[in-house]
Symmetry: C2
Subunit: 208 residues, 2 copies
DNA sequence: CTTACCTTGTGAATGATTTCACAAGCGCCC
DNA sequence: GGGCGCTTGTGAAATCATTCACAAGGTAAG
């Protein structure tokens, strides 16, 4: 397959959000233009994004909402559910573990881990917090595909390397550090400081 | 000023993170190559990013760490502190309100708001949760420059429009919806579902 | 002072992404 | 069936971002 740009995949996910909303509102079909307006992009962009994966619309009519949802879910790899582990049961980790939107979108939290004995044994949304030492065994047993790191920056690289060694190939990092990703491991970092700084820049340079 | 790409600003923020770390480790100077290696980019990229704003290095020697930190902070608009309000004191809002990293990077949480009477009056990291109705008055009084939305998706657009009307020009959105930004308002959305879906796509299409 | 060695800053080249523009397809109505 | 209005899918063009490559400038040592 031709390489697909990250920006394209992000937009596909966004389109999926809107299509789900459109479906709830009872719409049967939608045009690239309507989808574009919801997502702040252009109709040509929508069509180009989809064209990388095939042809999903009917000329003159638009896209069948339900079919397009199914196609996008297949494209994004959401036909099966993805087991996820959360590493770190602090404020952010606990908030994520209890976030129901996770499950709605096809991701199941199958484990939560922490090094702090005071947190081990806590129950978060039906999951018992496990000791950090249980990680390798649980990865082998539960076969999670994605790890979410909710730990301090200084611990993040070590835990990334550790889960990578156990076979995890996708990591979502909330630690405020850039990580160097082991070969073949997809890492995405969500960094609050960076997001705020981009906003500060925008406020400081209104014209840029 | 020439328009600066979003990707450039994000990298500048990343460079700043590394430079702070380098400074702690006692380094006086750093070359574009070293900075690039830390941030997973190339030396030419580092130099090009900086060149949009001026000339900060010494040929043959590299960059003076402390000076470059100061320059980046000035470029990003971090010379003054930014007052921030958090709207929504649920799991995520409360976690953010208590996150110390906020303050470290020059952002001060000056208000937390919630519509739920049960949450109003709670104390989060020294801030009392205020009723939603106090929002307009507090914005006029406290002059926050950034609002962080930690509320359900269906409420997000309305609250965005509301704070925009009160004069807020930068919003960080944690609600799982794309928002249409009023004119002149910078909005950044952090969407967990999208991040996870990008990872699911990467796992499903290892070659893409 | 001169040479050897580094590293920056930056036009030019390349590569990637977005936008344009239009032929082709479909539904509907007469 | 033919014409009209609408919308897709897609090469080609334009724009935007990254990488290359090298002249210019600096340090250090002899």
């Amino acid at each position: 397959m031709k390489h697909i740009a990250d920006s394209t995949v992000r937009r596909l996910s966004l389109y999926l959000r809107f299509l789900e909303e459109f479906e709830r509102q009872g719409h049967d079909t939608i045009s690239s233009g309507e989808l574009a307006r919801s997502g702040g992009t252009t109709s040509a962009q929508v069509r180009k994004d989809l064209s990388f994966f095939g042809s999903f619309g009917k000329r003159g009519l638009g896209y069948a909402v339900t079919d397009l949802i199914a196609s996008l879910r297949r494209i994004l790899g959401l036909e099966a559910r993805w087991p996820v582990i959360i590493i770190g049961a602090g404020k952010i980790g606990a908030a994520l573990a209890q976030y129901r939107g996770f499950g709605v979108h096809g991701f199941d939290v199958v484990g939560v881990y922490d090094t702090d004995p005071a947190r081990v044994g806590e129950r978060l949304a039906g999951i018992l917090v496990q000791p950090d030492a249980a990680l390798e065994g649980d990865i082998a047993r539960l076969q999670p595909r994605i790890a979410v790191l909710c730990i301090p920056g200084e611990a993040a690289q070590a835990q990334l390397d550790r889960v990578a060694k156990s076979g995890i190939r996708a990591v979502l990092n909330f630690a405020p550090t850039a990580l160097s990703a082991p070969d073949g491991v997809a890492v995405r970092t969500v960094n609050m400081a960076t997001e705020l700084e981009v906003l500060a820049f925008a406020l400081t340079n209104p014209e840029a």
